[in-house]
């Protein structure tokens, strides 16, 4: 075989081996790189537009808080928008003594407030005034929202962050010629954050809590329901914290949490879009490579004890009835969890799903019905069914109808066509998630963090494909039982507006 022949042979081989471009699934597109300090970098090259989504996920969330830290992971996320020793300030050296004075005053005030009615009200008033005065004084050094200003000026879009039970994520979309700006700001933020304007921001979080949990009837029910479902495990505490928790969070606590966990070995970075992976690795090495690792986030030791009987939770509100039904189930990637994914889709995916067909279309007991997994996935969690009863039907009627559908799962094997439809849906979803830089970055960081590998995304459909009708019956019989069940309602308060 001469050279030319060899070349042709090789080309043919390549044609056979290389699938058509879209046939190349996620497995071939993700590039992984781990820095010496433990930072995990995941990249996907997509040149649809000259833009990049950059997500940083820290594997620390509200589940990792101690009881006196409830709400801290989330408040810290807010605080990490306030700048560093060089950004967000005109002169950190001059600012720092004032920040220390603010902290001293706040600590003294909180110690007095913690005594509740026995506290010295006059002294609290004085300290509050002093705190306000000091914070106003410190403002003169603040360059307001400088991260935001710099990113915005450079065309950054969707600059944001979110905190969940399992982790905390910081994200932005940026024109691809400015990726280095992201690296410069985020590596600075990882090492040199300054939690200035702390006590004003704590008030902002209190307003966020009123907005999302207190004024929203469904938010209130979900919060109460979680707390009832997890007596021991921290999944039961609200991510934002209870109101009294928030009012005793301090900058000192937030800094301790920050310095303990915010480190490259607890971080996963996903960069998706118009990038050159080699150049991106070099960029990330240059900006993040020298950051020292810190305490790895350890597993939560508490295990929720088995439920001893059905739980019922009622929330009174100025709102029409709503219904939640939940069952404890294992963590993500447990063999039974894939069976729950099948059950989830059977019950509520689309207009042909069992609960929609039965409750919404045929019996018309409810106008909406859905199922989901929550409040987190890293640890054993809940399979939740929610429904909106249609008047004059009551939540109790809806509950009964749902129960009948759950019973069916225990006795009647699912059909091959139903299973095939689920696999078809998952196939479509696999492609669809690749159509957005942000969506892909989200999935890569999320699953890398909670399952240990982004490959969960490709293995998931293969695992679901192995679920048999007998598995569904077994899992339904094991978990969807009365002593493992909780039911939550919103009941209309007497005398509320009609």
């Amino acid at each position: 075989m001469n050279a030319l022949q060899r070349f042709f042979f090789l080309s043919i081989l390549l044609l056979i081996l290389v699938p058509p471009c879209f046939g190349a699934g996620l497995a071939d597109k993700v590039r992984e790189h781990t820095l010496n300090n433990g930072l995990k970098l995941l990249m996907v090259e997509r040149h649809t537009s000259p833009t990049v989504a950059a997500w940083i996920r820290f594997k620390v969330g509200s589940v990792d808080e101690r009881s006196d830290e409830r709400g801290l992971a989330h408040l810290l996320e807010h605080m990490l928008f306030k700048g560093t020793t060089t950004l967000g300030t005109t002169d950190y050296a001059a600012e720092k003594p004032l920040l220390d004075k603010i902290e001293e005053t706040a600590q003294e005030m909180m110690a007095e407030q913690a005594k509740r009615e026995k506290g010295d009200a006059k002294r609290i008033g004085e300290l509050k005034k002093e705190l306000d005065r000091l914070e106003a004084e410190a403002e003169k050094y603040v360059v307001k929202e400088e991260f935001s200003v710099i990113y915005s000026r450079n065309g950054g879009a969707g600059y944001n962050a979110f905190t969940a039970k399992d982790g905390t994520t910081y994200l932005i979309n940026i024109p691809s010629n400015k990726l280095e700006l992201w690296a410069a700001i985020e590596s600075d933020r990882m090492q040199n954050a300054v939690l200035r304007e702390f006590y004003t921001e704590r008030d902002v979080v209190a307003e966020e809590r009123r907005r999302s949990s207190e004024a929203e009837p469904m938010g209130r029910l979900w919060e109460t329901f979680q707390a009832a479902e997890f007596m021991a495990h921290p999944y039961g505490q609200p991510t934002i914290g209870w109101m009294s928790d928030i009012s005793f969070l301090s900058r000192a606590k937030a800094e301790a949490f920050l310095h303990k966990y915010y480190a490259p070995n607890n971080a996963i970075v996903a960069i998706v879009g118009d990038i050159d992976p080699e150049a991106t690795i070099a960029l990330v090495e240059r900006y993040f490579g020298n950051i020292p690792p810190k305490t790895p986030v350890g597993p939560v030791e508490t295990v929720e004890p088995p439920q001893a009987g059905e739980k019922r939770v009622e929330v009174m509100g100025d709102a029409e009835p709503q219904l939640l039904i939940a069952f404890h189930k294992p963590a993500i990637a447990h063999p039974d969890d894939y069976v729950f994914d099948v059950i989830d889709m059977l019950l509520s995916e689309g207009r042909t799903s069992r609960l929609y067909k039965k409750l919404v279309v045929e019996q018309q007991l409810a106008t909406e019905v859905g199922t989901f997994t929550g409040p987190g996935s890293r640890y054993p969690n809940l399979f939740v069914i929610e429904a909106t009863p249609r008047a004059p039907h009551t939540a109790a009627e809806v509950e009964k109808a749902i129960e009948a559908e759950l019973e069916r799962l225990k006795t009647e094997p699912v059909t091959d066509r139903e299973l095939q439809q689920i696999l078809n849906t998952l196939e479509y979803e696999e492609y669809r998630q690749m159509s957005s830089n942000g969506g892909l970055a989200r999935n890569l960081t999320e699953y890398e963090a909670v399952t240990g590998s982004w490959r969960y995304l490709i293995e998931h459909r293969q695992k679901v494909a192995k679920v048999t009708p007998a598995d569904v019956v077994r899992v339904a019989q094991k978990y969807l039982v009365e002593e493992n069940r909780a039911v939550g309602f919103i009941m209309k308060k007497e005398g509320a507006q009609q």
Binding site: T48, R153, V204, E207, A215, E320, T388, Q421, Y431, Q497
Partner: protein, 474 residues
Amino acid sequence: MITIFTRLVILLAAIILLVSCASPAVTANPRTMTFPPLQFEVPRSERVVLGNGMVVYMLEDHELPIVSMTAYVRVGSIYEPADKVGLAGLTGAVMRSGGTRDTPPEKLDAELEFMASHIESGIGADSGNLSMTTLTKNLDRTLELYGQVLMTPAFREDRVKLAINTSVEALRRENDDPKGVADRELNKALYAGHPLGRHPTIATVKNIGRVDMEAFHRRYYHPNSVILAISGDFRKDELLKRLTATFGSWAKKEVDFPRIDEPSTRVKPEILFVRKDVSQSVIRMGEMGIDKNNPDMYALRVMNYILGGGFTSRLTQEIRSNQGLAYNVESEVNVGQRFIGTIADETETKSESTVRTVTLLRNIIAGMAAAPVTDQELSLAKDAIINSFIFGFTKPEVVVGQQARLEFYGYPPGYLEKYRDNIARVTKDDVLRVAHTYLHPNAAVLVVVGNDKQFDKPLSTFGPVREIKLEIGK
């Protein structure tokens, strides 16, 4: 003699040296970094008109084996009769849920979901949408069903009843959400007396039947009223053949649109209060703004960015960041695409700081008209709008949909191409002038939903208050 090998070693050593010289890492200062210019042209899709007048925009993209399609249809709730408010929305929903002449609803749902294809239909204030996504391998059959839903929906009686019952339940629940209540009451006040200010009630919805939906569809759904936007994994010539096969026999028909008056350009200033037992007040403010043909649009966009358009805005910096009074505070200029739009502000604060926050909101808005913005504010707003422009073009379906909508609403040619230049031309004087012309915080509509027993001061501080009593479904 230096061999090739030695030369290579020397070269390698030089590279290693260079690399080690570069350590410790050279990092840049975010305040002063500069970047190479971004090369970007607004992507173009192809426009074709079918024989029956249906306009088609196509953008091929073979990254993923998916095809997406949306039809924009000249229809809307503005055309529904006053005693049947809700008809347009229900017609849109039942076009999809009620099956077609050839495919009953159960079969339509089962077939689509087995293929993992999606068809969804809806009708808003001034446009109807019928969207579809499918894996390429199922394009033919999904397109066939899509054509049926668009042209020959059956509005089966039991599905009509189901949609009405669902809608009644949603209306019964509307007052559960304080933010929803405030938004609704603001819209009703701003567009009072105009179809855009109408809102369905249980009575108007119960007054709708199958014949109404069928007639509404028959009157407005014709090929010459449709613009199709298609993107994804297809070949243009093949797709055109399929489109002709699907829609070719759909006959053209001139539509007799009811005359809709322009909304009033001035609102009646009012303070509206809705009592709700909650710990946080919902605050909404609004007045009339502009439509897309108004040349002040660019200056208003810049003005709004500075006032309340993002994290760096005056409203967020003062009300949220400096005073900790709210989590969410923003202003928006809704540029009307067909009719004049609104300028609105929103925030939520604990009951005890309600009047204080409204006062601040009004003062900050008034400040926009009192003095010119700073050079820094102006340049930040313009840079942000211009440099983030590109994020309107990150997905093929968004690009093609945008081009379809420009034609649908009759934007002038070159609107997108000139957008960044038009923003760049805005001056401090322009911003001051539009703030002065369009912002009247003390003569706007103010809506507060909350528990007045806990307010820091009575709402009547601002003038006479009209209380709206909540009634279910009315």
